[in-house]
Amino acid sequence: MRSRLISLALMLTLTATVALADQGPHFGRPATPDEISSWDIDVSPDGTGLPPGSGTARLGETVYAQKCLACHGANGEHGPSTPLVGGRGTIGVPGVRPVKTFGSFWPYATSFFAYVRRAMPYDKPKSLTNDELYAVTAYVLRLNGLVGADDVINALTLPKVRMPNRDGFRPWARGD
């Protein structure tokens, strides 16, 4: 009897503790993995977040012509929007204004994939299939001379592409 009372008191204490920890608004509802999947579109430099699928520069040329060329121009050099190639050898040259393109400046190819995935094409972002994303990324990498025309770009190979300016960044510190 006595031991039952003790265990009851212990249970009550535990309940009170849990209730205390549980205080607060808690107005968020649980998000299920299925719900999260449609918005979870970021990609980390190690490849975390890259979806299934693959593409080559040769396949990407068609995607580029249809969805990118109007703004970025033939070969990614001249268009009404940002150039995607050029500028190599202009970073850190005394007296020379750096020309910053994907090829000359971006440290990670994964960032390009993630950016196109969320924001491009400008008039219809988030509309490309995963295969189209890999293919067009491969094509722009090819324009910059960083992969071959038939190199297969996928979740395993994309993080391994070494961008020329990979070591051109350092964390900011006060006074920089």
């Binding site: 719900e35 051109g168 960044f169 900011w172 510190a173």
Partner: protein, 432 residues
């Protein structure tokens, strides 16, 4: 006898006519000390009875707007950063719109005049459909509706918001003719009200391995930035209100991230997703943009804080002087490290300085207004202001900043600005 002879009677606080900041606050200082001589009243018609004095007017608007005579007080200065491919102008959603600093005073920016940088226009978000997802390295991924967030305890803070690219025209080889709005108008200050993000993170249960978060917007370009977890848990706010009303559409309606003191771009608008991560995702806007390239070719990344800065907003290139005589020089000063404790003003291009009077809430990360009286003798003058913040940091000259960073770092341009006053009354931006 001259009508206005103040300058010969006044003791200057610094060269070229700057007066003591407390001049008008001193007891016994009045019209006589200033040297005004009241003119004989001239014969004139009686003051007119205008139409609005003699007839009532129409109905009261449900939401008041500035007088129709103030129609010029609007945002402007769009057109993108220097060197931007002119073709980009065909994308009207990729732009920035700046606060007309020369037409405002005080420290709070009206919501409709708060600057905005857009990457795919202003999304037309239905608040009943907007959701904030909190996931990644957390025990319990959560989704919050606007209604759910509105039930949380809230805080109000007066915070400056400055774009990391504000004043980047100061890096240009020749002084920009864009005026104070065009050069410096990507800074504004509001009272923001919202929910501490730390409270939501704690409800989700953050994994100790999570050292960063990714913040993502619901606009078409899904603006994405990484922010250190330390900042998120310290003072990040999910703001639902701006100056007491719901956040303006171009500033993130129905909710935006606020990171007091940090560069504006990190404070993601139309916030739809927070993901706890071990490291930054190295998104486009924290690698190819918002990094500062130094002369050695190395680019600094995650340039978190905006350093102390000040700028004279009156006079300004947009405002022509109305002849010699008394002027109040006024401007704005702020620091991402907290607050400005001193602003000095020069009227002789930095040869001599006088302290300005400071106004404003005085709280951390709030805007400071500075004022100092000036007796302009009608001759050439170069006006400058220089802020010192609570950490002892002093706003640098352009030459000093260039010596450290070189001319191609694009962002975080907080150097001293010089307005040259010509005897014609024209005000121009110069490098001095």
């Amino acid at each position: 006898m001259s009508e206005y002879t103040a300058s010969e009677h006044l003791e200057c606080a610094a060269g070229n006519g700057l007066l003591d900041r407390r001049f008008f606050l001193r007891s016994g200082v009045g019209i006589a000390t200033l040297g005004y001589v009241l003119r004989e009243p001239a014969k004139a018609d009686p003051l007119p009875l205008e139409p609005w004095m003699t007839a009532p007017n129409g109905p009261l608007p449900a939401y008041d707007r500035p007088s129709r005579f103030e129609a010029k007080v609007v945002r402007g200065g769009s057109g993108g950063p220097p060197g931007l491919n002119p073709g980009l102008r065909q994308f009207p959603g990729v732009t920035n719109i700046k606060t007309p600093l020369h037409l405002l005073t005080g420290t709070i920016t009206p919501g409709g005049l708060h600057h905005a940088r857009l990457h795919s226009g202003v999304p037309d978000i239905d608040p009943d459909k907007h959701q904030l997802l909190l996931h990644g390295l957390v025990k319990r991924p959560l989704v919050f509706s606007v209604e759910a967030l509105s039930r949380y305890p809230m805080e109000s803070h007066i915070y400056v918001h400055e774009c990391g690219g504000n004043s980047e025209l100061m890096y240009e080889e020749e002084p920009s003719k864009a005026g104070v709005m065009g050069i410096h108008g990507q800074v504004s200050c509001s009272e923001w009200t919202g929910v501490r993000l730390a409270m939501l993170m704690e409800e989700a249960g953050v994994d100790p391995k999570a050292k960063w978060i990714l913040a993502e917007g619901a606009d078409a370009s899904a603006m994405t930035r990484s922010v250190p977890m330390e900042k998120i848990m310290k003072d990040a706010l999910v703001a639902l209100y701006q100056n007491g009303e719901r956040v303006m559409p171009s500033n993130g309606y129905p909710m935006r991230l606020l990171l007091p003191g940090f560069e504006g771009n990190m404070q993601v608008k139309w916030l739809r997703r927070i993901k706890a991560l071990a490291g930054p995702t190295e998104s486009r806007d924290e690698t190819s943009k918002y990094t500062m390239t130094h002369p050695d070719g190395m680019s600094t990344q995650f340039n978190l804080y905006m350093e102390a800065k000040s700028v004279i907003t009156q006079p300004a290139p947009e405002l022509k002087m109305r002849g010699p005589g008394f002027y109040e020089i006024s401007g704005l000063a702020w620091s991402g490290y907290g607050k400005v404790v001193k602003v000095e003003v020069s009227a002789d291009g930095g040869k001599s300085w006088a302290p300005a009077r400071l106004e404003g809430p005085g709280s951390m990360f709030a805007m400071t207004r500075f004022r100092i009286p000036w007796q302009w003798n009608g001759g050439p003058a170069i006006l400058q202001s220089r802020a010192t913040d609570n950490t002892g940091y002093v706003q640098p000259t352009r030459a000093a900043l260039f010596a450290k960073r070189g001319p191609w770092s694009n962002y975080h341009a907080n150097m001293i600005t010089s307005w040259s006053i010509a005897s014609t009354g024209d005000v121009t931006h110069v490098y001095a």
